[in-house]
Every structure is written in C-alpha cells, then in structure tokens.
C-alpha cells in the first residue's frame, strides 16, 4: 500500500531539510523564509512501504492571507494526505504551535516533528515530550533534521498514525475556547453539519472558519442565505460580548491555550540575559547607521576573494586544460583521422571556442556561489533583506520585493517565479520588471572576460561595481515606476529573522556543486547548440557559401545592420553587436560568440589571445559600458518565458523587456559619454 505524507510548518523551520533527508533529494534549502513557494513532491521507501512526501510552503497559519497559505491549506483539505507531519521549530515553540493548533482542528491525522532539538539542548532548555503530546493530543517526536537525527522515528510514528487513522476516528482537539465561544461553535456546527460532511471537512474546523468570516470556506460551502444569516447573528453576538472581532477572539483563545501548553511542557534555562547570540550580532549588523556599509563591505570581500588570487589561479588552470590540452588533443585527433577543414573548424573554433570560453570561468563561479551559500546559510542574507526593506520602504517600495531580487543573483527565471509571494498585484508586476536587473550567474563570464582584459589590476572592484549598478538601477527604476505606473502604498513586509547558524561544510558544497553542475550541463547543451549555430552563421553567407572573412557571413551582415544602434554607447563594432544579439538566447552566449568570432580554439593557446583581440576595438570605458549594457538589457529567453507566464500578459511582458533594454541603452550611453567628458578612455 502507498501512503502520502505532507510536511507542513512555519517558514524556515527546516521542512525542506527534513524533506531532503526523507527523500534523498537535494531541494534548495535556505536559511531564510520563503524558499519553498510551491509544493514539492518526492518519494521514499520506508518500512517496506511506498511513501509520497509533499513539502508544502512555509506558513504561519491556515488563514488564507497569502498564496502559500492557500496552497498548503487547499492541499491538506482537498488532497487529504494520510498524515500531516507538522515540523515545529523547537527553539521557537510558542510561535510554531499556532499552526499546530489549526492543523489539529482540521481533524486530519497529525504528527508533530519537534525539529531543531539540538538548539534547545545547547541552550539548556528542556521540553517534556510526553506532556506536550498529551496536551496537544497528537504524537510528538524529537528530531534534528540538519543532523539527520530523529528522521527514522518521525517516519515510523507517521506510518503508525497513517495506518491507525484509516480505521480509527481522529481524536477531538484538546483546545477549548471560552464557554460563550464554545456555545456559538456548537450552534454553527449544527447549522453547517450537512454542508461540511458533503466536502468531508471537519465540522468544528469549518465552524471556526465561518466564525472567523473566512471567505474562501464560505465560497466552497455555498451556504443558503438563512444559514448565513444565523451565523452572522452568532458573530454579532460574540463581537458584542467580547467587544472585539471574532477573528481576534479566536486567535486570543489559541494563544492562551499555547501559553498554557508551553508553561506546562517547556522549561527554559534562566540565562540572566534576554539577548541571544543572534540578537547581539544583529545589534551590530542591522544597526541603522552601520547596516548598509557592513553589507557592502561583506559583498566586496566576497568579490575580492573570488576574483583575487584564488580565482585567477583556477582560471589559469582550466584555461590551460581546455584551450591547450583538450583543444590540442582534439585538433591532432581530427587531423590524424583525416577530418575535413570545415569539421576541424566546427569542433575547434566553434565548439571548443564557444563552450571552452565559458568553461574557464566555472571554478570562479563556483567559488562565488560557495560564499553566497555561506552568507545565506548563516542567516546573514535574511538580514540583507531586512536592511534593504528599511531602505526600500523610505522609497515607497516593499522589502518583500528584495527576496526575489536576492534569488535573481542566481537566476532570473526562478526569481521572477518567486514574486508569487507578493500579494499586492502592483508590487508583484513591479518586482517582475526589476528582478532581471540583479546580475544573474549567467552574466558572470562576461564580467570575468572583460574584467580580466581591461581591469586586471582592480577586477574585483569593477565587477562588484557592476553588481551594485544593477541594484541601484533597480531602486531608481522602482522609484520612477512607483510614482507613475504603479502608484499605491507599499504592502507591509513582515519577515522573521532566522537565528544565525554555523553552516555545514556539506551543505555549502552541495549548494556550490549544484550550481556549478548546472553551469556544466548548460554548457554541454544550450551553449553547445548555440556555439554550433553561431559557428555556422559566421562561416556561411546567406547564400550558404563558405566565406573567407566572417564580416561577410550571416552574422556579419546582421552585426553590421544592428551595430549603429550601439555606436553611441561606444561599442559600434559589428562583433560586439552580434554578441549582444546572440546573448538574447542566454547571457553566457555573449562570451561564447566572442570566443568563436576570435577563433579562440584555433588561434589562442589561452584566453589571453581573446583579451588581446578585444583590446583592438574596446577601451576600458567602452568595456565598462558594454558590461553595464549586458547587465541590464533583455534578460534571456528563459527569463522572458517566466515573465510572460507570471505577468500573464503580452503587453506587460513586452513593456518589461522594452523597459529593461531601454534603460540598458540609456545607462550605457551615460557611462560612455559622461566618462568621455571626464577624459576617461
């Protein structure tokens, strides 16, 4: 028989870590809330049973305030998993139990996995598991998902509950409200019993939701007018007696119950200080004056290490391997096998020149992702969102936009998707338009190539400045668009700051490898195909004749046609124009194109040859304007697809990419022309 277990819990309580431990997956885990936007599914085979495990998005309650709450609630109500494993952060038990009380009210089989017990033990606090289980009326199992402890016990208990729940009625929740509220609850339960049964919902939970005036549930039940009127009378009566709205009365009742449970089952060690280590660190890193300078300093240090000695050494190593050893061996092999000239050129100039020019940067990209993962896993990135929220709110933007933007430093496509967490439609559209301004990993090879060719002495600072430029352009664009097209108040942003944690080396290497591997896969598939097509287009004319000079090729004709657009920006050469054109597919292709056009695989013993070739038609100022343009213009086909899907409108999608490309042109124009006014070259 197969079972379905759903994992539910507050944001950042370790659900995805638990999911990965159970299923053996490597789903992305971040030490910040909101990583899981959609539900994820995995399979596990435990105790000779087939188990489907569903990781639901992090939620604080089952009230339909946010997209995540609606997704999670609808899944539990409609899909009816055999067991809901409620992951509770034991180090923050009071807040986490609020969701637990609601899950228990649903009348579905629940097992509480008391996660992060290692933190509780380190703090010296004690939790009486037996007592907690008795008071909640559900089994409680201790665990520490990040250390892989307790997972077996959680699964075993969940399986027992799943098997028992199939034959035994689920126990009535222990939570009892004030007598007047209970009386009203009974009345409403009687009124809606038939309608709740029709949907297989638990009567008491439905009654509570109706008293809370939950519109989603009202809509689903489709109650007749007379029943609705009776419920409204109950609500009016309660609000009159308690002098408060029913939603608050019910929430108060839950919190009172939780306070009683915690008082009985949890014993906290008296440390004498109310500040935790995280609080003490936050006093410095989120300080009003020092927060942003500290954030900038941290990022600059990351870039300094990545693009400094360590990064250069890795580039030299891979460069030698790809452009010397591999290209040399392939070239000799092809010659020995009697390959035609065109095939030799296709493999060496096209594939090695294109794919190889990307591969040399993979180690540096992995180093950067290692440090990014370090900042994320430690909990610092969540602080970055908090710091930016404070700055953004002053400008009328919501800090919640910053989370998709942070994801945008990895890849724009999922970052655009992550905007689903924004409830306000205007903020959402605005964030979708701004997110691609964050410099994604695919743009990195462009900066690395131009940084090494033109800014060898201060490469890390120049690349860092490009990242900052993206953030600044996003903020300025945000202010302009907020004052024109997207007028309105910024939605409030509530974000829980997770405690600082020492990241595990394993976790950091998994993050680094996942992203590095993705680059390698992309290089072997999309970039490979693009390289073949680009080589074809730079070798043949429109009449499919081989050309001597690439300027007469298909690419050459296209390049010459569009080059005048970029002339005012300083890079009016047809080769740079073609690189921008092919970069529409994916940003790495910009570098691959330049590698092919300059015959990297053929003429270059290492990428220094490419640097020299670029120096014939770029100056440092032109190179910087080019880097800025590639940062800001049309993101790539994949991000375009994500934007179309999320905006659900051709008009808005075309406006977004048009706006981005327009801004890119203006910024590059300003950099080049203002730079020239100041005598820069």
């Amino acid at each position: 028989m197969s079972y379905t277990f759903a994992l539910a819990g507050n944001p950042n309580c370790g659900k995805t870590t638990m999911f990965n431990e159970i299923t053996g997956s490597t789903q992305y885990v971040g030490n910040w809330p909101g990583v899981t936007v959609e539900k994820k599914e995995g399979r596990a085979r435990r105790f000779k049973e087939e188990i489907k495990v569903v990781d639901l998005p992090g939620i604080y309650s089952l009230s339909p305030y946010t997209m995540e709450e609606i997704i999670a609630r609808d899944y539990i109500l409609d899909e009816k998993p055999d067991v809901v494993i409620n992951i509770v952060d034991a180090s923050n038990i009071e807040r986490n139990l609020y969701l637990t009380t609601q899950l228990v009210e649903l009348g579905v089989p629940v097992v509480v996995a008391l996660n992060m017990m290692d933190v509780v033990t380190t703090r010296g606090d004690q939790i009486n598991l037996k007592k907690l289980s008795e008071l909640l009326g559900v089994p409680v199992v201790p665990a520490s998902a990040s250390k892989g402890q307790g997972i077996h016990d959680v699964m075993q208990k969940a399986l027992v509950v799943a098997q028992t729940a199939a034959t035994v009625e689920v126990e009535v929740p222990k939570l009892r409200f004030d007598a007047k509220m209970e009386k009203c609850l009974d009345e409403v339960q009687n009124l809606i019993a038939a309608y709740a049964d029709r949907h297989h919902y638990h009567k008491r939970w439905v009654a509570l939701k109706l008293l809370e005036e939950d519109q989603e549930i009202k809509k689903k039940l489709d109650l007749p007018a007379n029943v609705e009127k009776d419920i409204q009378n109950c609500i009016a009566q309660l609000e009159n007696e308690f002098d408060n709205d029913t939603e608050t009365i019910i929430a108060d009742g839950r919190y009172q119950y939780i306070a009683d449970v915690v008082a009985e089952a949890v014993k906290k060690k008296n440390t004498g200080s109310t500040l935790t280590v995280s609080d003490k660190i936050d006093k410095i890193v989120t300080n009003r004056i020092f927060a942003i300078p500290i954030f900038l300093l941290m990022m600059w240090m990351v870039f300094r290490v990545t693009f400094g000695a360590v990064g250069s050494w890795t580039i030299d190593f891979v460069d030698g391997l790809v452009n010397d050893t591999i290209a040399g061996a392939l070239s000799s092999g092809l010659e020995a096998a009697g390959a035609a000239e065109w095939l030799h050129a296709l493999v060496i100039d096209g594939i090695i020149g294109g794919v190889g020019s990307i591969l040399v940067f993979v180690p540096q990209i992995m180093i950067l992702f290692f440090f990014m993962a370090l900042l994320e896993d430690s909990g610092y990135m969540a602080r970055a969102a908090f710091i930016m929220d404070r700055a953004l709110r002053k400008l009328g933007l919501t800090g919640k936009s910053f989370i998709p933007m942070l994801m945008g430093f990895g890849c724009s496509a999922p970052a655009v998707m992550a905007t689903r967490t924004l409830e306000n439609e205007k903020d959402r559209k605005l964030t979708i338009i701004l997110t691609p301004f964050m410099s994604c990993g695919a743009r990195m090879p462009i900066y690395l190539l131009f940084g090494a060719a033109f800014f060898a002495q201060n490469q890390s600072t120049m690349i860092f400045s490009i990242y900052i430029l993206g953030i600044v352009v996003a903020i300025i664009s945000g202010i302009i668009l907020k004052k024109t097209l997207f007028k309105g108040e910024a939605a409030p942003f509530v974000m829980e700051l997770p405690p600082y944690r020492i990241p595990t080396l394993k976790g950091l290497f998994i993050h680094m490898w996942d992203r590095g591997k993705a680059f390698l896969i992309k290089a072997g598939t999309v970039i490979f195909s693009a390289a073949v097509i680009i080589w074809f287009c730079q070798t043949f004319s429109f009449t499919l004749q081989m050309v001597e000079d690439p300027a007469d090729s298909i690419l050459g004709v296209i390049g010459h046609a569009i080059a005048p657009i970029f002339a005012p920006l300083g890079f009016g050469d047809w080769r740079s124009a073609v690189a921008i054109f092919t970069g529409l597919v994916a940003k790495e292709v910009v570098v691959a194109t330049l590698g092919i056009l300059h015959g990297l695989g053929e003429v270059a013993e290492d990428s220094m040859e490419l640097h020299t070739a670029l120096q014939t038609y770029f100056t440092p100022l032109k190179a910087y304007a080019f880097m800025a343009f590639t940062l800001l213009y049309f993101p790539c086909i994949a991000a375009f697809g994500a934007m179309k899907r999320e905006l659900n409108s051709w008009k808005w999608t075309l406006f977004a990419v048009g706006y981005q490309t327009g801004i890119a042109w203006i910024v590059a124009f300003l950099i080049y022309n203002v730079g020239r006014l100041f005598g820069l070259t």
């Binding site: 992305y28 990895g410 496509a413 655009v416 591997k517 598939t525 073949v532 086909i637």
Partner: protein, 49 residues
C-alpha cells in the same frame, strides 16, 4: 567518413537540444525539472523524485 559521422552527430545533437528547449519553454518547464522555464538548474535546485 569521419566527416559524415561526426558532423551528423553534432548536427543531430544540436537539433535535439533546440527541440527539447523549445518544448520546455512551451510547457513552461525548466531544464532542472521545475515549473519555471529554462534556468537549467541555475536556481540551485534539482528535482528528484
């Protein structure tokens, strides 16, 4: 002979990748298996079931 074999293989692989990418974009599905189109796993996640 090698010209036909290797050239054919490269052409076939290129066409296969292009068709696969177009299908994924149309389906709104990413190369990493997620519902987002085309990040090829750069989101740092991998879908394994």
């Amino acid at each position: 002979m090698i010209n036909y074999i290797l050239g054919g293989l490269i052409a076939a692989f290129t066409i296969y990748i292009i068709v696969r990418q177009i299908k994924k974009l149309k389906a709104g599905q990413c190369s990493c298996g997620h519902d987002c189109p085309g990040c090829a796993g750069q989101c740092g996640t991998e879908k394994k079931e």
